[in-house]
Symmetry: C2
Subunit: 207 residues, 2 copies
DNA sequence: CGAAGTATTGAAAAGCATCAAAAGTGGTGG
DNA sequence: CCACCACTTTTGATGCTTTTCAATACTTCG
């Protein structure tokens, strides 16, 4: 079992200060941040994108539960249960900090904000499963681009695994592969930080 | 704006709810519970299913944001903003009570529970957009059956509008129509099929 | 180097969307 | 009570999108 727990900073691998309460933690793409059932606390995403999964879906595949991008809180349920109910993995390189505002338990307002953010995020994710393959993938990359430092995602360099993209968008790996190839050919429209305007240009240009 | 009175005969206009703390309100299928932007408070769903929508999706159609079934809280964001961020409609006949625990603002634990429930619900709804049409529709009806008194939904009598089912599952109305016809012909096997033990209990106990 | 995972590509088929039209349903006013 | 309207549901025919199956390359890492 990999020990990354604790907001006190003890036992952290290669981190600088044990004294600071909110020590940022960095996770590379694909890294498992925590597993469902483990003890631990809540985190705030300050860079990158995190994927949350709910156990197995019967075929041995994890079933996507949610995504978290910059500003989102993950693992808030630990404040109630003490354990995680979902499994978290880094979709892209990402940075988290323990979510304990000013060293104390998050208050009323903090919880409400987290809830409101979660609801908004969910509507975004749900929309990723509507429309054509090209639109879905482009939308996902657009959402993720907010959480990527620099333009790597925009340039198509540091994409998540196709398998992750496929599971999030509800497509197959093959379709995602073909879709990304197509998007590259079109110059990746819509991937630059907004989305809607560039999206329409793509539609107009044909494919 | 139409004021719908509770089934108990109280003619509520919202302001009087200071006196009667937890007065249940009943809404018929299709009824608009609240609109995004309106002032109001949070509710707990005690019967039926509520659909939450986020504004227009560009084509004039509401974009599904979430569903709420028995036990779920809707409109919690009003505790922070004072106004609703989503629009709520009754997918089936449903009953709500104002969410103010013991006449006070919901506390820390109540909020955490609401958040945890919302996250679970998200995962359920996301799953409704994966797999084949027949599975999706059957899963939705399964989720909703928890909130329907009696077996009407199982018997196919008091279904939501096909349009709602279509928008929730990400299918077209035509496909949903054909799918439901097929499920009926099969005796609705899909409803017990994948997951819910409660489904089978419901069938066995016979309303 | 070899193994395991990951990505690409093709061809064929399944599934669903689309378009179109008819039939059913509920509510309103004459 | 009926005619009428708006909306919803059903059904058919057709074709596009995506999946499926299969085979091959590319990457990463012990």
């Amino acid at each position: 079992m990999v020990e990354f727990s604790g907001s006190d900073g003890f036992g952290m691998t290669g981190d600088l200060s044990d004294l600071v309460v909110n020590t940022p933690r960095h996770f590379p793409r694909g890294y498992s941040i925590y597993q469902a059932g483990e003890k631990g606390g809540a985190w705030r995403v300050v860079a990158g994108t995190v994927r949350l999964d709910r156990g197995q879906d019967g075929d041995g595949n994890d079933a996507l539960a949610s995504l978290a991008v910059v500003g989102d809180i993950i693992g808030a349920e630990t404040l109630l249960f003490g354990r995680y109910t979902f499994t978290a993995r880094a979709l892209s390189d990402c940075t988290l900090i323990p979510w304990n505002e000013y060293g104390e338990r998050p208050g009323h307002e903090g919880l409400l904000k987290a809830l409101a953010r979660a609801e908004q995020r969910f509507a975004d994710i749900l929309a990723l499963r509507t429309g054509r393959a090209a639109d879905r993938v482009a939308r996902l990359l657009s959402i993720m681009s907010f959480g990527v430092v620099g333009r790597r995602t925009l340039a198509g360099q540091v994409l998540p695994r196709l398998r992750d993209i496929a599971e999030i968008t509800g497509l197959t790996i093959e379709t995602v592969s073909r879709t990304i190839k197509q998007l590259r050919g079109e110059g990746l429209p819509g991937l630059t930080d907004g989305q809607s305007t560039a999206e329409k240009e793509k539609d107009a240009s044909g494919r």
